[in-house]
């Protein structure tokens, strides 16, 4: 019997997840309808005592105009993400003041327009602001914990983070296309830090209204995607890194996170299949924040649909956050109209979204619902996060190779040899986690990374 929460492709549909999350002002995520998730940020400006009133005014302007447009378009649901800026995490009073401002505006919108609304609050993982990062102590971590503890009171409905444990080694591993080092960064360090961090985040939500939502391997797999878009590393390598990041992001859900996962976690479909949690995704409507080869396929099984992030700058029609919310609402309308017609129709649209991109890029191919289910099945079976990570690499290479041979995904000529290169590299990754640690230990520069901060 399958260990997956979703093992039948017929049940793997956008807007529906086995474990829906109800949050905020009556908003249900994964309960049948895809929800637009809007994120906005400041235009280029300093954040300090002097500029603080102007900072507040920007957020007031953004939330007001976004809610107004959503109401005009009669959007039934609206999730807003507030991703803090570093000064607002380092000084939680600031971040929490904006959290309160946004939460109040969303409550008002719910009362006035009957809109179901919620606020996701995403403080920064500021631990990465020094080298070697202190992961479990120090001023950055203290301020983060303070933020977690007070976010519920400030009105946050969902707590998320883009955590960075292991990133200090992963960057180099990526530009060197060094698969073993990537597996060490994600499968050993990343997974350990996730376990540590998410225990704290889940505890911060206990007995409160705020729910622990989810994380993202953004700093790892999206960095790889961006490097591949710039033709700096092979696309097949970035595709494998995406799958390799799955076990790390899963740790949050093992620790008690309930979803939705973070929008920029393109590993989301795997999380949904394995744990049944609702997921947030982003694609073509996040092109304002980053270009990608997965603009449509990322929509295929999403529960929230996001713009990633946009600065409050003026476009011809209006402010950029308003433009984004309009685009997201229209995308959601289409998905929800199709699924309201019939589950069969939701599956049709899902398959067209997937077919749009899957053949053109291996990074899209590994997000195909059927590929996801096949690999997820393998991962669910592994004993430890490390074993899952190692298996993720093997499965991804194998799936891409098979897909290429079957003509289901095209690879450019210079991509193909990298399948062998990665396979050979994987042979040097021991089955035993401790063995890998001992191989890697002498290679780690203590000025960059302190292994003790990971309990290694």
């Amino acid at each position: 019997m399958s260990k997956l929460a979703i093992s039948n492709i017929n049940d793997f549909i956008y807007g529906q997840s086995p474990q829906p999350v109800t949050c905020g002002n009556g908003l249900v995520i994964g309960g049948g309808r895809v929800v637009p998730e809007l994120n906005f940020t400041l235009p280029s400006m300093d954040i300090n005592e002097q500029t603080w009133p102007a900072v507040r005014a920007e957020y007031e302007d953004m939330i007001k105009s976004v809610v107004q447009r959503a109401a005009e378009l009669e959007a039934p649901d609206l999730l807003v993400e507030f991703e803090t800026l570093p000064p607002m995490t380092i000084r939680p009073d600031w971040g929490l003041e904006i959290t309160r401002l946004l939460a109040d505006a969303l409550k008002t919108a719910a009362d006035k327009h009957g809109m179901r609304t919620a606020l996701r609050c995403t403080p920064n993982d500021t631990r990465e602001f020094e080298r070697p990062p202190l992961m479990r102590q120090g001023a950055y971590w203290d301020a983060m914990q303070d933020f977690f503890a007070r976010a519920d009171e400030a009105g946050a409905d969902l707590l998320s983070i883009e955590s960075t444990g292991g990133k200090e080694l992963c960057d180099d591993a990526l530009v060197n296309a060094d698969l073993r080092a990537v597996i060490f960064a994600l499968g050993v360090l990343g997974c350990r830090d996730m376990k540590f961090l998410w225990a704290h985040m889940v505890r911060a939500c206990e007995g409160k209204r705020m729910r622990p939502a989810g994380d993202t391997a953004c700093g790892f797999a999206n960095t790889a995607m961006v490097l591949a878009e710039k033709k700096m590393i092979p696309r097949v390598f970035a595709a494998v890194v995406r799958v390799v990041s799955v076990p790390r992001s899963l740790v949050a859900f093992e620790a008690g996170a309930v979803g939705p996962s973070k929008d920029c976690a393109y590993e989301g479909p795997y999380l949904k299949a394995i744990k049944g949690v609702p997921i947030s995704m982003e694609g073509k409507s996040a092109a304002c924040a980053h270009l990608s080869p997965v603009g449509n396929i990322s929509q295929a099984v999403c529960d929230c649909w996001s713009n990633e992030s946009v600065q409050n700058v003026q476009l011809l029609s209006g402010k950029a956050p308003v433009v984004s919310v309009e685009q997201l609402i229209y995308d959601c309308r289409l998905m929800n109209v199709a699924s309201a017609s019939a589950d069969e129709d939701a599956r049709r649209l899902r398959d067209w979204l997937a077919a749009s991109d899957a053949t053109l890029d291996p990074q899209a191919y590994v997000l195909c619902p059927e590929v996801v289910l096949r690999i997820a099945e393998q991962l669910a079976d592994a004993a430890t996060p490390y074993a899952q990570t190692r298996r993720a690499a093997a499965c991804a290479i194998e799936e891409i190779r098979q897909g290429y041979e079957d003509g289901k995904v095209q690879l450019s000529e210079r991509e193909v040899p990298w399948l062998d290169i990665m396979e050979m590299a994987l042979e040097d990754v021991p089955e035993d986690e401790n063995a890998l640690i001992e191989v890697m230990r002498p290679e780690v520069n203590p000025k960059i990374c302190d292994l003790r901060e990971y309990g290694v």
């Binding site: 800026l85 990465e128 990526l174 530009v175 060197n176 296309a177 960095t223 490097l227 033709k231 590393i233």
Partner: protein, 208 residues
């Protein structure tokens, strides 16, 4: 007898062992190390850089080449120094204050070294004081990198700080940075990628 062609190929292919062996043989044979550097090793790195710009190789391949080049440099550098050979110029590279991204910065460091420059790596999160120190250490050109739109404005602060000082040139780059922005803040050059930074640096030095 050392094989010049094999050194060239060895750098391009990133064959560290081969490069070290052949450079050693060349040196043992009393070959002219300045000639080796300028006519073989630097052109080999330029070749691989151009291949990257034409999307024919990936960064990891460029990095392997750079490491092979370094293996050769380790051998000839004492000899170059003894001959009084000077690097083409001394340049400093750093990601600006508030920005911790180092992928792009590291690539620039590597490409500039491969092109025969003496490079001071200032690391990330560099305040203006750090660039000032580098100038005191003899850096003629400061290469500023930024990945965030929020940290990009700091480039202007650095440029303003050095405005009017003929001995210091500023070269900028990074994802959100544009040529127009470089003009706007009065930088002397703009590199669209690590290889382009080498070209931009050459332009600056030729113009000086």
């Amino acid at each position: 007898m050392a094989k010049i062609d094999e050194i060239y190929e060895g750098v391009c292919k990133g064959n560290r062992k081969l490069v070290a062996e052949q450079v050693q043989a060349y040196v043992d044979n009393d070959g002219d190390v300045v000639e080796l550097l300028n006519d073989t090793m630097i052109p080999a790195m330029r070749d691989i850089g151009d291949k990257f710009s034409r999307n024919e190789v990936y960064v990891p391949e460029m990095l392997i080449a750079a490491r092979a080049m370094q293996a050769g440099l380790d051998i000839i550098e004492p000899l170059l120094a003894a001959k009084g050979h000077k690097a083409r110029a001394r340049v400093a590279v750093g990601t600006v204050k508030g920005d911790l991204h180092d992928i792009g910065k590291n690539l620039v460091v590597m490409m500039l070294k491969g092109a025969g420059y003496e490079v001071i790596d200032l690391g990330v999160d560099c305040p203006v004081e750090k660039y000032e120190e580098a100038v005191k250490e003899g850096a003629q050109v400061l290469c500023l990198s930024a990945l965030l739109t929020t940290t990009m404005p700091y480039m202007k602060e650095v440029a303003d700080h050095f405005k009017g000082r003929d001995d210091v040139k500023i070269l900028i780059g990074g994802a959100p940075v544009t040529k127009e922005y470089a003009n706007e803040i009065g930088a002397h050059g703009y590199g669209s990628d690590a290889n382009d930074a080498v070209r931009a640096l050459e332009n600056i030095l030729n113009a000086a």
